[in-house]
Amino acid sequence: MAKDKTSWRKPIKATKEMGRIMAEYFYELNDASKSRRRKIAWCTSVGPAEILRAMGFLVHFPENHGAMLGASRMATDMIPVANARGYSPDICSYLTADVGAYLKGVTPLSKAYPGIDEVPKPDVLVFNTNQCRDVQDWFAWYAKEFGVPIVGIHTHRGIVDVTEVHVPSIAGQMEALIPPLEEISGHKFDMQELKRVVGLSRKCSDLWQEVLFTAASVPSPLTFFDGTIHMGPAVVLRGTQQAIDYYELLLAELKERIANGVAAVEGERFRLYWEGMPVWGRLSAHAKLFSGLRANVLASTYCNSWIFKDFDPDDPFMSMAKAYTELFIVRADDAKEKYIEEMLEFFKVDGIIYHDAKTCPYNTNCRYGMPQRLEQKTGIPSLIINGDLNDLRMISDEQTQTNVEAFIEQLEERK
């Protein structure tokens, strides 16, 4: 196969600005943690961040920290520390890497942001089990460690259609968080402020969707690997103006690429969909592997997970409840398959890569026959790669490479 190892995805100019706002975010948290001048809440990545912001908390997202441990390839050395404390190598490797790093007294933040030597200390831990059970166990460990309260939302899982039965119960749980959070924050809950924050989150989400959907252009101006980096603000800064400003900037750059016919992967021959989590410690290796084969992995369920179409500032609790339950990860395979099918068509996809992540069954969708069903229905072939989000002990680079090359050869034969 004609392979050009020199080809590479095009760098995005806006990245510098993202670096700036992310640095601001982390330093603000660090200052608050040191001075104790502002309260800090830890929140799950698709948890009720809007409520926390509206109540004046600064918000830290342990999953974001977990991903940083993965991307910096520190995770594999941290995980065994948590394993030795009884947290199995088979459970969430964000959890084990994060707890392991805490126990070792290290953080990737120090390297990225000089002067920060630890994660910000929480005043409260807030989870939503919409994504998995692991987050609750993870936060519970820290609640004990720091001696701070833990509160959470218990979401229904495996839902086909989100209905009246589900939404009010989740909204009720969200409202029930208010009294304890008022006590911890020392702030009275202000409905107007929540509406404002939900409005900002909605705007951020709409822009993030626009950014991701630029990948439907042929050639695509964006790759999935770019998406995993640029989703930072949508995760940790949604509900703020900075996130909105940033995505406007990024969107303008991508639109300019489209107008000029600029491809993220030069000579794009194949368009692929990524189903599952990224392998954080192999982001650039995977980006190179695919772009070297002139294949662009350009869309994913994962990056799309921070699109919350239902946020409505006029009805914040019910709409947040709906948005955080409509998510892909919360749903049954019927709903998931319908969604992926739509995405395959929208992004004009030639093939699907499923990542079977050893330690995250929740973001792994190839274990119950989905690839076979979707392939039968759409005729679009797929490949499963075995790996993990953070634990590099679960990875064989050689196998991944051979599988990906063979898959591209297979697509070539079909053209």
Binding site: M1, A2, K3, E375, P381, I384, N386, M394, S396, E398, Q399, T402, N403, E405, A406, E409, Q410, E413, R414
Partner: protein
């Protein structure tokens, strides 16, 4: 090229053995060679080339194009291009059996199931996951544990009258199961057949099979009883090419021929 007799080379550098095939322009297999891959893949491939050319009655000057494949495909100094072993196995199989088939390849380090349609195009493929259970490496490990030469395993398995059942997924756990059976006084032939059967089981659970099935790979070449056991397991005949171990190298040589024709 003048009056030179063109030669097309395919070389498959596997984790355990390196295989080389020499073809002419009429798609005839002229020569081949197999040797242990060892630790210096490049040198092994060079040595295979020498031997293969000699058998084919060709010289290095006759080579038109070379495609390398397999685990060490990028280490072959004289290759013009690389292809994955998945593609090469499919092509090599289709050369012998031009029809829609499922190919079961049992290699030194990994197993594959590749499905091709009646035009020889790949429909899907699966490689085994990380563990070596069910691969050639597994049988090698067990032959060392039982202190039986690898080449005696096939004959022993055929003598079995009461096969031992081994249940584990894992090579290490299977080893423990084997020890347990030795302790219980089981016949070695029954244990070896149990090992063979576990290889078959590991492969069969990788993917479903279509009507026609082909088996390839070095493990199959050296342990033909595996084919018989697989036939018993699926209840139908299995096709085996003339040189099961060379399938990948043959496919690579056919790619070399195809590429140089376009």
């Amino acid at each position: 090229m003048g009056d030179r007799a063109p030669a097309y080379i395919g070389v498959d550098v596997g984790s355990s053995r390196t295989k080389l095939a020499v073809f002419d322009a009429a798609k005839q297999l002229l020569g081949w060679h197999v040797r242990k891959s060892g630790t210096d893949f490049a040198a092994t491939a060079d040595a295979c080339l020498q031997a293969g050319l000699q058998m084919a009655g060709r010289t290095a000057g006759d080579i038109v194009y070379t495609v390398s494949t397999g685990y060490g495909r990028k280490n072959v100094r004289f290759a013009d291009e690389t292809r994955t072993e998945i593609g090469c196995h499919a092509k090599g199989c289709y050369y012998y059996f031009p029809m829609a088939v499922s190919i079961i390849d049992i290699g030194g380090q990994d197993n594959k199931i590749i499905k091709i349609d009646d035009r020889g195009q790949r429909i899907s493929f699966k490689m085994n996951r990380k563990c070596a259970a069910g691969t050639g490496a597994f049988l090698e490990e067990m032959s060392a544990r039982l202190d039986i030469p690898l080449e005696d395993m096939d004959g022993l398995a055929r003598k079995s009258t009461d096969m031992v059942k081994l249940g584990s997924f894992c090579t290490v756990f299977s080893g423990t199961e084997v020890l347990e059976n030795i302790r219980r006084g089981k016949q070695v032939s029954d244990i070896v057949k149990g090992l063979f059967f576990s290889v078959i089981k590991r492969v069969m659970e990788m993917d479903s099979l279509t009507e026609r099935v082909v088996m390839t790979g070095g493990v199959v070449a050296n342990n033909r009883y595996l084919v018989q056991m697989a036939e018993e397991s699926i209840g139908r005949k299995i096709l085996v090419p003339e040189h099961p171990q060379l399938t990948g190298a043959i496919g690579a040589a056919l790619y070399a021929l195809e590429i140089s024709e376009t």
